[in-house]
Amino acid sequence: MDIRRFFAPTAVKPVVQKQNGNHKTDEKKNNSPLSSDEEVKKRKKETTKVKSSKMEDKRKNSEKKRKKHAVIESDSEEEKPARKSKKSPKEKQKTNKAEPPPKKDPVQYVSETDSDSDNFQSLKKSSKSKQNGTTKPTKSDADSARRGVKEGVKSPVRTSSAQGKTKVKSPSVLATPKSAPPPQPKHTPTSVLDYFGSTTVQRSEKKLVVSTKRKAQTLDTDELSDEQIAQQLQLDEDMELEKQVHEDEEFARTLAMLDEEPLAKKARKGSDEKQDHTASQKKSSPSKTNRKDSMSEDVISPSPKKDPTSVKASSKLAMMKKKNDEKDKGAKSQTPILATKIKISPKKEPLASTSSPMKFTPKTATTPTALKTSPKKTESEQSTSPNDAEKKKANSTAYRNFLNRDGPRALGSKEIPKGEENCLEGCVFVVTGVLESMERDDAKSLIERYGGKVTGNISKKTTYLVQGRDSGVSKLDKAESLGTKIINEDDLLELIRTKPGKKSKYEIAAEAESKASKTRTPPSQTSRSTPKAQKISPSKGNSRSPHTPSPSKTGLTQGHRARTEHGRTPPGRGSGHMARRELGLSSSTSPSSAPEPSSPSTTGEGASLLWVDKYRPQSLKAVIGQQGDQSCANKLLRWLQNWHKHHSGNASKPAAARFGKFGGGKDDGSGHKAALLSGPPGVGKTTTAALVCEELGFSYVEMNASCTRSKNSLKEVVAESLNNTSIENFYKGTSQTVSSKHVLIMDEIDGMAGNEDRGGIQEMIGLIRNSKIPIICMCNDRNHMKIRSLANYCFDLRFQRPRVEQIKGAMMSLAFKEGIKIPPPALNEIILASNQDVRQVIHNLSMWSAKDKVMTYDQCKSDAASARKDMKMGPFDVCRKVFISGEEKSQMSLIDKSDLFFHDYSLAPLFVQENYVHVRPAAAGGDLKSHLVLLSKTADSICDGDLVDKRIRSGQNWSLLPTQAMYASVIPGELMRGYMSQFPTFPSWLGKYSSTNKHSRIVQDLASHMGLKTLSSRQAVNLDYLYYLRQSLLAPLQQHGAEGASQTVQLLDDYQLVKEDVDSIMEISMWGGQPDPYSKLDSKVKAAFTRAYNKEVHLTPYSLQVVKKGRRGGGGESEQGGEDVEKETQESEDEADGLKADAMIKQKKAKPTKESKKEDSGKGKGKGKGKGKAKK
């Protein structure tokens, strides 16, 4: 049924179209040297007819809604391949076959309108396709024939459009072609859609202007070259578009926001909605497809150039109303869909109308334009599903091969040719396998150097597949299926050598723009140059911001528009409307497209500003990377919004909320009175905070590092203001009540340091506790010691670096506004070099562009490399990077490698030493023997590093550090480079070192305690005594249990050890995690031992206090006297102070007996001790 319908109209169409086409071409031929005024007039007439027949159409429409539906479906198949991917290719092929011959001339006209309106719909001005349409009349037959083929691809749309047109002209005539297919006697429904399409068309006058201009431009003498350029441009943009498709909606929305034409977009949206709405009224089941169809129906709209003004004027009011209605309902939910749709749709054109016929033919043959991605998908699905197991096996072997494949064999063996500038522009490459003479990265940069683009995966856009050794099978298959040209490395070099260079599209754009600005002053000349500017500027912006001409340009377009307006039938109305529209546009831009100063006056001011300030986002939506619903900015917004709700004064509420913080899964920060924004510099923390406050109508006081923020000053300045209420609005008259809506922003709170701001953080915490207004704190390092305490009281919001694409989009539009020509790959380099720091990217752009507005890839790359932001790497990253293998390593110079060491020269060698064993070196190739040899060599090198380290540390020879870097980091990295099987572990040396020290102290204590008895050095005690001492200490306890306790205590006393020393001995004589034999003892025995020990007072010849070993077991002796006691003990014997001895005896009962034993070792301590004690 569908297919038949495809055929049917085409068969009839030629007749009708021929009329049109002939008519048109005649006209055009006449008008060609001049402008297209006459033609425009003619079309206008047609459109007025459309208007008049509107009501009729509608009525008819409702009658035949069912049939219309069918038609719509058939159309939608073309437009939306995703839905019916499998079916459509067949249909398409058939239509291809059937249609091309009859079409030729007649279709040309259609194609023109088609492409125009299509563009219009997508809001992206595809200059080329338009040119195709416009140039056709002037061009040769061959050209038109080719186009005919193209048209065939789009047949359904076109046919319907043709029908629409014919109908518009004469409804009666129209009936005949439509009725040709038996099942559908009438095809009027399409005309209704036409009608709707035309209303949409009229909305964006800008587009219209462009198209007319293009027409004028085509009349230029140098049109051919321009056209080529434009085609080139289109191609490139399509690539970008393709990329965009993969990006997320947020990004798309950002871009849309950044665009200068929100109004136009809205209008279009509104119209879509309207169609939807009307359709739903008429049809029983209005579906999304309908809406999309209707959009595609836009395409069909008869010569958009003519209708817009007239139709617009009439239906404007109704439209506006509807728009308002619809916008509220559907706008939000449908925008993303629309956006994607918009992106996809224009792709169709460039493919169909590729500049070179060579490329063009295969593409149309193999890949039906509208099909886009869906066929690919189905293919792959089919291929994977049948025999999974086999595939898996193959994959695993392939992967193994991939792991084992070595680098280029003949590195640098081939001379890299010097091609012409931008000779590869517009070509998309995919490199697979290993190239013989260069690393893949080199190849990539070479291609990019000449304007080409390298992607990872093959898509339809891919022009060449560069195949190397061990190339991936899947890629080759895909390339074959897509008809991509497969070349090898030599071909690539040859390509560079031979391909003619062309001017970069950016340069062209730049020239065009400069030309445009020159010609702006004399308006009479504009007809020639402005079209070009117009053509190019939108196409450039196409990728992201279609309609963002700088203010000057807007003015220009306006003028031009006004001029073109004059040529039209209802000049007064149209131009008036135009003017208003323009006004509305400019006024509406200011809030939504933030970075753009919309009026010329602001640009004047902006000239003196830094770009960073000039393009500071003016609305929350424009902050890069903060568009998501869960983004920090939105969280902050919600938090601030609900702040007063949560903290409305009664003390009980915050407490409850705080409980929620622990219990509830979702943390919206309601329990916190302050928010803490943390993140790297240049991601927009301050901007976000300020914008959030603005958005919610809070006034804010900002304190940053330049203010003194010590405890006292905080107390004085801030504490007062926290309890204040703002009367700002009251005075301004905007608010009747005194508002309490203000915020304290503490910027750079981690800068609260040093003597100036002492106690600042603590005071801050106190303030937060009692604050009656929200406080927003900002810092860079969330984990800083000082911030940690503060963070407990704050709603924690961590800002991440925006992704490269996010920055890139904004930067492209910025560059465009500033008139900088910078190729996207170069911009990538710049962004990466600054480590995704938006601020720095802008600064760099501003600096480098000061010299030259046109930046080349090479220049940017070198600049970016020299400005590469030093990235702070943690020791784990450093360690990982030391042993990293593959491309990244090969890129690093020796200096880079040794720089890794200098990230932390005291820690890096430890990390290397700790982790080199975990690395599986690539050089060993899995051979254990060579692996061991490598390990040994690495260990040797690390030892050398250690020797150097010793020299450095002992002799302060810090100049030797680079030497150590070589030994301790670079050489091990080179030897062991390979795959690290686990996350780098933290060096255990540090822990072991400290425990060694601890044990050493213990041994020293023990040795000194036993010193009088053993006369041995520390080492002897450790190596010889300890084990046996432990044995003899434990033996009685183990053998006799509690009875043995006294024996053990005796031994302890003999060696002048205290109870704590027993624990030390046990601790130090534990080996390999074996349980300590003392702890294995029965607890009763242990208790008995402790009791036995505590029963007596133990005297030691050393002071316990200084050693800090803890107190003497049972002695109540005062610690302070300890030292004196020892000293005096010895002397007291000689002095033999009898008087004191009496006092002593009274105190100590058990001691004398014990002490007497010690006499043989020459220590008559007993008396002396007692004396000392008595003294105390």
Binding site: L935, A939, D946, K950, K992, T1014, S1017, A1020, W1071, P1101
Partner: protein
């Protein structure tokens, strides 16, 4: 109840069990009335300290045995307080300057000066000099040793130094030349056996000579160790049997296991395990050179032919570097890795040779 090793420590030169001629020489030295600075060195467990204490007793009589531990605080020029323990009698001062780490120079300057500057009061009845006993001289920093040079000469009149170390290799030449070097060698196996037997007799035990020999060999003629082992044997089992298992210290057992681990398998994983074991040894304050020695001894048992010399050479090389370097574990591990590589190669080559 002390351990035998301390219980039966001889207290006078005459009671020493071995190196008797050296003892008589020392006695003669003392009887001359004056004696130069001494540098006593010898391996651990040879009886250096015992000999020195006997010498001091010979000099000053029994009063020298009244020891006390003093805790001294010295303020360095940098206002840093250094705390150090000393053992002193009325006649001598024993100090281990290396306890103070890098500040040992200050300790030597201050302590020796204070001791040397105060003269003996009753010089008529006693010697006119005091003795300062410096232990572990080989661990002194070069700075401290240089500080010692001048002090030795300047206070010669009131102070004699007895330096005490395990080896003279780290003592600088000028100091060696100022001292009378006395080497106390390890006792021979027979001497150790004699001592063991006599001690057992005093304890009322009967030690079979075979066991005595076994103990003395196992202890490496370290008399202290031998006595401790002997006592441990006693605790373990009495009456002694001839083929009794002599208990060895746990660190020795651990070290042997480590060496066996190296020999039994050569792989990166094993290297990691060995590293962990080496760390364990080091954290127990086992000196790295002793670890190295123990490793090599065990490893050599498992090597043959020219591999032995190679391993020995390697060990010497790494041990030397170990002394030069900071972090012992690096060098021990490098030695292990090297051994593994060589051993693996050797074994596989051997296998190949056998195959063909």
């Amino acid at each position: 109840m002390s351990l035998w090793v301390d219980k039966y420590r001889p207290t006078s030169l005459g009671k020493l069990d071995y190196h008797k001629d050296q003892a008589s020489q020392l006695k003669n030295l003392v009887q001359c009335g004056d004696f130069p600075h001494l540098l006593v060195y010898g391996p651990s467990g040879a009886g250096k300290k015992t000999r020195i204490m006997c010498l001091l007793r010979e000099l000053y009589g029994a009063g020298v045995e009244k020891l006390r531990i003093e805790h001294q605080t010295i303020v360095a020029p940098s206002k840093k307080k250094i705390e150090i323990n000393t053992i002193a009698s009325n006649y001598h001062l024993e100090v281990n300057p290396s306890d103070a780490g890098n500040q040992d120079r200050v300790v030597i300057q201050e302590l020796i000066k204070t001791v040397a500057q105060s003269q003996q009061i009753q010089s008529s009845t006693q010697r006119e000099f005091k003795v300062v006993l410096l232990t572990e001289v080989d661990r002194l920093t070069k700075d401290a040793q240089h500080a010692l040079r001048r002090t030795m000469e300047k206070y010669m009149a009131t102070c004699r130094l007895i330096l005490y170390s395990n080896s003279t290799s780290k003592v600088i030449g000028p100091i060696r030349s100022r001292c009378l070097a006395i080497r106390v060698p390890l006792p021979s196996t027979e001497e150790v056996c004699n001592v063991l037997t006599s001690v057992c007799k005093k304890e009322g035990l009967l030690l079979p000579p075979e066991l005595a020999k076994q103990i003395s060999e196992k202890s490496g003629r370290n008399l202290r160790k031998a006595l401790l082992m002997c006592e441990a044997c006693r605790v373990q089992q009495y009456p002694f049997s001839v083929d009794q298992d002599v208990p060895e210290t746990d660190w020795e057992a651990y070290l042997r296991e480590t060496a066996n681990a190296i020999v039994s398998q050569q792989s990166p994983q094993r290297l990691l395990e060995v590293r962990a074991r080496l760390y364990e040894l080091l954290t127990h304050c086992i000196p790295p050179d002793i670890i190295m020695k123990g490793l090599v001894r065990e490893l050599l048992n498992n090597c043959d032919g020219h591999l032995k010399t190679e391993v020995a050479h390697m060990a010497a090389y790494y041990e030397h570097r170990l002394q030069l370097g900071n972090k012992a574990i690096y060098h021990l591990e490098a030695f292990t890795a090297k051994f593994m590589a060589i051993y693996k190669k050797f074994m596989e080559d051997g296998l190949d040779a056998m195959m063909f």
